[in-house]
């Protein structure tokens, strides 16, 4: 397929792999964090590990929208859907399986709630138009990647005067999460593979504090396997040169200054919350969005009573350590035994972008080449 196959070329991959090996200083161990779950998924899905020398270790970061949703917010969504029979709760597919303290949305459906999977917030708005006698709620999750589409949907809902639609906003922002990682005492990172889709919206400038204040390179990368490899090559070159800069591997999509129109729409529709709970990372100030005063009529949290109770993660769950990159997925006590994709305890095991699910589904084999004669 055009515009896809070009970014999956095995010959180019081998060439980049060789360059990365050359750039790696003998005896030095490199820890690079890919911030974004999309990268984690691509790395495992395409076997990018097979192209890296053993001394270059990829640490999976917190940029998985589903993974950072705390249990209490799942319970809130479930409570609204179960207490109000006229409600149709809509959410992205991955969200359906995230466990709350009272089961997942899938379990909610089995108990009689009406929770539907949508591919876009616009689909939720369409459901609202088609069901004027029902209240349709979009359970919004995601970073700056998905926030603009939620914002545009709200703009449209307001313009069309649709009153049976609201948004339960869980949008979060990436920079505070990266700051939390950098401030975490138990992690030594050499550099970051920067988010791709988030950066199409916010641009590259917001990352400039990372090389400036922390002396670590960041390279914004695309999501095809060659993008990731090339970004790693650019990082290794910076480290070899003793440089620390923000570079943009994904310039074909990511403008340095971001998407001003998307940022303006977001600024109109959302405002920063004073603080928000992140799964595993705890409360982070100014790290999440809620609907602005202008869109308060569409705010589910103002329309409905939500329990709003903070629910502690199960004791055995070490998602927080995995999200911060302190633990590798398989180092978690319950990984693969009590916690599997079909019976997830923690969020990292739910979404295909979650480090644990990506590792479990794609990476769980002894890394040795097999003889192939096909």
């Amino acid at each position: 397929m055009r515009f896809v196959d070009e970014y999956r070329d095995p010959d180019l991959a081998r060439a980049l792999s060789a360059k990365i090996s050359t750039l790696a200083e003998p005896g030095r161990h490199y820890k690079l964090m890919e911030v974004c779950g999309g990268h984690t998924h691509a790395i495992y899905r395409f076997g990018v590990h097979d192209f890296l020398p053993e001394t270059v270790e990829l640490v999976h970061g917190p940029g998985c929208p589903v993974c950072v949703i705390p249990m209490g917010r799942v319970d809130d969504g479930m409570a609204i859907a179960e207490r109000n029979p006229d409600v149709i709760l809509t959410c992205f597919g991955d969200m359906m399986r995230v466990p709350g303290s009272n089961g997942s949305f899938l379990d909610g459906n089995a108990r009689g709630a009406d929770i539907r999977m949508v591919y876009s917030p616009l689909d939720a708005l369409r459901i609202a138009r088609q069901n004027p006698d029902r209240q349709v709620i979009f359970y919004a999750i995601g970073f700056e990647t998905t926030a603009p589409s939620t914002a545009l949907t709200l703009v449209r809902a307001k313009r069309e005067g649709i009153t049976n639609f609201s948004v339960f906003c869980n949008h979060v922002t990436i920079i505070p999460a990266i700051k939390a990682i950098l401030d975490s005492p138990d992690l030594r990172l050499d550099a970051f593979v920067g988010p791709g889709h988030v950066s199409t919206v916010i641009g590259c400038r917001p990352y400039e504090f990372i090389p400036r204040d922390h002396g670590k390179p960041l390279v914004c990368a695309g999501f095809e396997p060659l993008d990731v490899l090339q970004a790693i090559e650019m990082i290794m070159r910076q480290l070899a040169d003793g440089r620390a800069e923000v570079e943009n591997q994904y310039a074909r999509i990511v403008p340095w200054d971001g998407n001003r129109q998307a940022l303006a729409t977001m600024a109109d529709v959302f405002e920063l919350r004073p603080y928000f709970e992140w799964r595993g990372l705890g409360f982070i100030s100014h790290s999440a969005l809620k609907l602005s005063q202008r869109y308060a009529d569409f705010d589910t949290e103002l329309r409905y009573d939500v329990p709003g109770v903070r629910v502690a993660d199960p004791k055995s769950c070490q998602c927080g350590e995995v999200l911060k990159g302190v633990l590798k997925p398989w180092e978690c006590k319950v990984f693969g035994t009590a916690c599997t994709p079909e019976t997830p305890i923690g969020t990292c095991m739910v979404s295909s972008e979650g480090a644990c699910a990506a590792y479990y589904n794609y990476g769980r084999y002894a890394k040795k080449r097999l003889p192939l004669h096909v």
């Binding site: 097979d50 192209f51 399986r97 949508v118 180092e331 035994t337 079909e342 097999l370 096909v374």
Partner: protein, 360 residues
């Protein structure tokens, strides 16, 4: 501080768990139990099989084999609850005939006759019903298998999606046919009889839940001619066949390797795919290896007969796009690996949950 295991130990511990008979511990049925993936396996192997326990059932093939006075009969049944009833490339009536014919074919059985049970919802348009019965008749005629008995029930409005069909089929297994996952050998080639992923994607697009226009048609087709050709060409060198329906090719491969405790390696860029399916799957983030087919065989053939087997498949119009997509190896036991087009490796595990709504 608990003992810290190495990565290899953790992987091995997970494989031990996977090898155990799945347990059914859920408190209620969710849609995942119908997906053909892990939850379905827990339901079938953890609840249904233990309660109805007998040797023929325990094989869990596409069809059960029953000995009757020297003859081996194959018996299978399948329910069809697809929504919408009609979709590009087919409809529930055609699917109901082909689906059961194919379960027999994959078991190496010549389909003899079918029974059909119809569950009709109050208010179903008679013309829709007539159309589906005509589709069943046409499919039965094409497959050369008559529908010889049946049943009808009507349920109240709202209790069914218009029309559900259950078909049951009887087939005859020739005395020299031996097909089973246990017969699969290291070195066997894995063949697939054509392009994969069309049925599931056709249904998904037909439901209109995603705003995507693509010309993808269901691949529903009877598979006995292909199965017969493989049996005739390969004889005992054909070790196992499966009909890659729910859960797709990936699920079939996992079921086989879990049973025979060998490994399978799939060369991903050898998997035949129509460009429309590749495009739709890319956009929706779905792996076509997990998408349902309604007219695709997966066959395990001894390596020195694989090329002949491929020719036999390609000689038939339904098998024109057949391909060798991988091979069986000793390692990694019980697992399926993919070599990606990019040149890396990944696991191809069983499906968890269901990316797709009711598809058959």
């Amino acid at each position: 501080m608990p003992k810290q295991f190495t990565e290899a130990e953790v992987i091995e511990r997970i494989e031990d768990m996977r090898r155990r008979r799945p347990r059914f511990t859920d408190t209620q049925i969710t849609m995942s139990h119908g997906s053909g993936g892990k939850a379905s396996r827990q339901l079938v192997e953890g609840l249904i099989v233990p309660l109805l326990d007998n040797p023929a059932l325990a094989c869990l093939g596409d069809a059960a084999r029953v000995q009757v006075e020297g003859a081996t009969l194959a018996l299978t049944t399948d329910s069809f609850v697809v929504h919408p009833l009609a979709f590009p490339g087919g409809s529930i009536g055609e699917l109901a005939v082909n689906g059961t014919v194919n379960d027999l074919a994959a078991a190496g059985a010549r389909p003899i006759s079918l029974a059909a049970a119809l569950i009709l919802e109050e208010g179903l348009d008679a013309e829709v019903l007539r159309g589906e019965l005509e589709a069943m008749a046409a499919a039965a005629q094409q497959a050369g298998v008559p529908v010889v008995t049946g049943d009808t029930k009507v349920v109240e409005r709202g209790k069914a999606d218009g029309l559900y069909i259950t078909t049951t089929g009887v087939g005859l297994v020739a005395s020299d046919v031996a097909l089973a996952p246990e017969l699969v050998q290291p070195g066997d080639k894995v063949l697939v009889s054509g392009t994969v992923g069309e049925h599931g994607m056709a249904i998904m697009l037909a439901r209109g839940q995603v705003d995507l226009d693509a010309d993808i048609r269901s691949d529903t087709a009877p598979l006995w001619p292909l199965a017969e050709a493989l049996l005739a060409t390969c004889g005992a060198d054909l070790h196992c066949m499966r009909d890659a329906t729910r859960g797709g090719v990936a699920t079939v491969l996992n079921e086989i390797v879990l049973t025979c405790q060998l490994g399978a390696v799939v060369i991903e860029d050898k998997v035949p795919l129509r460009p429309e399916v590749v495009g739709a799957c890319e956009l929706l983030g779905i792996d076509p290896l997990y998408v349902a087919n309604e007219g695709k065989l997966v066959a395990f053939v001894a390596p020195d007969r694989a090329d002949e087997a491929l020719e036999a498949l390609r000689a038939h119009p339904t098998g024109a796009a057949a391909a060798i997509i991988g091979e069986v190896a000793e390692e990694p036991a019980g697992r399926v690996l993919g070599r990606t087009g990019f040149g890396g490796h990944r696991m191809i595990d069983m499906l968890v949950g269901d990316p797709l709504p009711r598809i058959c």
